[in-house]
Amino acid sequence: MPLLDVRDLKTHFKTDDGIVRAVDGVSFTVEKGKTLAIVGESGSGKSVTCLTIMGLNARANTITSGEALFNDRDLLKLPSDELRKVRGQEISMIFQDPMTSLNPVHSIGKQLREAVQLHASVGKQPANRRAVEMLKAVGIPRAEQRLGDYPHQFSGGMRQRVMIAMALINNPDLLIADEPTTALDVTTQAQILKLMTQLQRDFGSAIVLITHDLGVVAETADDVLVMYAAQPVEQGGYQDIFYRPHHPYTWGLLNSLPRLVTEGTDLKPIPGTPPSLLRPPSGCRFHVRCGYTMDVCPKVEPTLEAVPGQAGHSVACHLEESVKQHEASNLLSQLKTGAKA
């Protein structure tokens, strides 16, 4: 049984201009101790998906439907107080910008302690000990002395380590990491990712990693969900997405990965911009940016269907299977050339 089983999740926001379908029918599962990466451009609905599961969307003017089963409970139907107990205890979350995600007016010791004491009636001293333990675990030197320090006294990478320590302080079953490295410089990114994988091993938490960067996915994910315009377009194991990608959007993402040395080959960004979720394009939402558009694409919305012969791999695209396979292998060989060079 999966740790988290999300079925047909929809999150719609009512605005003055109409209904924004921020998440429009997303299903996925996360197994215990595994990492699921949700990939997509900004505004594709990946963050909202997670915030919905956490119950952190602003309550007013939000319509949610579907199910999010976690340890046998549907998080979407849990009373807010029950859900509160789940947050920070069973599911934790870390955010993109460590510079703004810590409260500037409280010492990090106080903020770590708060995370402990919200879920267990322990005194200040045990809570502090736990905080120090975690700070050491995430590699913060002189952890005891630094408890009294304030966020502005830490660098960005250090703050993200503090955030991770705070997220894992109660040994959660699931850690949702929303673009945890985006705001950091490249070397720090690598350190943080390494830390996360290491901690996942040590703590045994499952991770939902939200990112727009397939490079990050490659280093960490077991499973991948590719989202486009509030909907999943392709879903599968790490191998499926990287070696047998079936959706033109996934191809685009792979193609836009920076490669180290590829002389003569430029970065190939996906043309166009993500569509408005207020009035999404008809049929396949990607058709306006797709290089393979057919007559059917604007008319019929493709459904997520299993790729024949590949268990756990599914895709929502009208292209013929043979075309998909052909294009995928072409792309792959290009990428490999790049990688070798």
């Binding site: 956490m54 952190l56 107080d81 509160r84 107990k85 789940v86 947050r87 920070g88 205890q89 934790s92 979350m93 955010f95 910008d97 703004t100 995600s101 810590l102 409260n103 500037p104 007016v105 409280h106 010492s107 708060e114 995370a115 919200l118 879920h119 304030y150 502005h152 006294q153 955030m163 705070m166 997220a167």
Partner: protein, 323 residues
């Protein structure tokens, strides 16, 4: 922190010097023969000369200013009024409690109104409460204190007869005769002035608190707190309000300080013999020592409050401490 305070104090002293100097110079631009005012119109030129000498008025302006500073620093004296001949210290310290009664009571009242209304409006934007509050804010901001004061006097004091129409009654009730019997009378006399004061300021503060809270609620660290599983009340208290109140504290400090320097209009409308009323009268009477007294006192209050606010700010906002 220590160096920070020292720097602030030095700056405060410079500020005080500047304010007193400017007031002095301004007064000397006005062609009033203070010695004659004091000596009386019937005085002979010789008598005027004696008075001028006694008051240091026959010295050059810098010497007079120096004398004023010397008296202030060494004797802690603001001098003597040209008009009623009383020690300015006495006048200022008699007026200060009146203004303080008005300002602190008013500030308390307006914060008691503004914090819940501002926070609730922020929590439920566009709700009936929010919209009502915004109408109230607009009215409060647009209303003139004198108009509000007269209306309050007329409706609540005169038509309904619930509260005194105007006037001040000292807390001790001393010398008040039949008007004034101590704390209860002090309180009833202050209710209308406090309310008018509060309406005027609460408007600004509701708006400011609403804005700050709404802004703060969108901060990432608030989301972090929720993600940690903090209940909503704790999120508001520990993570939203404290941050949202930072700018409010600064404003409050400044507003109280400025109001302490004299809330002229409200004091005049309600007949409160506070610093503002003293200032107005002494300006009209060209009573330089009294004007200087109020100016020095008000400037000192502003400077001291600034300092307190800075220190308080540093205490609640750790980012300032190292700056």
């Amino acid at each position: 922190m220590f160096r920070y305070v020292i720097r602030r104090v030095l700056w405060a002293i410079v500020l005080m010097l500047a304010v007193t100097l400017i007031t002095y110079v301004m007064f000397f631009a006005i062609p009033v023969d203070a010695a004659r005012l004091v000596a009386g119109k019937s005085a002979t030129p010789a008598e005027v000369k004696i008075v001028a000498h006694r008051l240091y008025l026959d010295r050059p302006i810098y010497a007079q200013y120096g004398h004023f500073l010397y008296n202030l620093v060494v004797n802690h004296s603001l001098g003597y009024s040209y008009n009623d001949r009383q020690s300015v210290n006495t006048t200022v310290f008699a007026a200060a409690p009146v203004t303080a009664s008005l300002v602190f009571g008013g500030a308390l009242l307006w914060m008691v109104i503004a914090i819940p209304v501002g926070v609730l409006s922020a929590l439920r934007p566009r709700s009936a409460l929010d919209r009502t509050a915004m109408v109230g804010v607009l009215t409060g901001i647009s209303a003139h204190p004198v108009w509000l004061g007269y209306m309050a006097s007329f409706l609540i004091g005169y038509k309904l007869g619930w509260l005194p129409i105007q006037g001040y009654c000292s807390f001790s009730g001393q010398n008040g005769g039949a008007f004034c019997g101590g704390p209860a009378d002090w309180f009833t006399h202050m209710v209308l002035p406090w309310s008018v004061f509060a309406i005027l300021y609460a408007a600004f503060y509701v708006r400011m608190i609403r804005g700050n809270v709404m802004e703060t609620m969108n901060e990432d660290y608030v989301r972090t707190a929720r993600a940690k599983g903090a209940p909503e009340s704790l999120v508001m208290r520990r993570h939203v309000l404290r941050n949202a109140m930072l700018p409010v504290v600064t404003m409050l400090g400044m507003d109280i300080a400025i109001a302490l320097g004299g809330s002229v209009l409200i004091e005049v409308v309600f007949g409160l013999p506070g610093l503002g009323a003293v200032a107005v009268q002494s300006v009209e009477q060209f009573d330089l020592p009294k004007v200087m007294g109020v100016v020095v006192f008000a400037a000192a209050i502003v400077v001291i409050f600034n300092l307190l606010v800075d220190i308080l700010y540093a205490w609640i906002d750790p980012r300032i401490r190292l700056a």
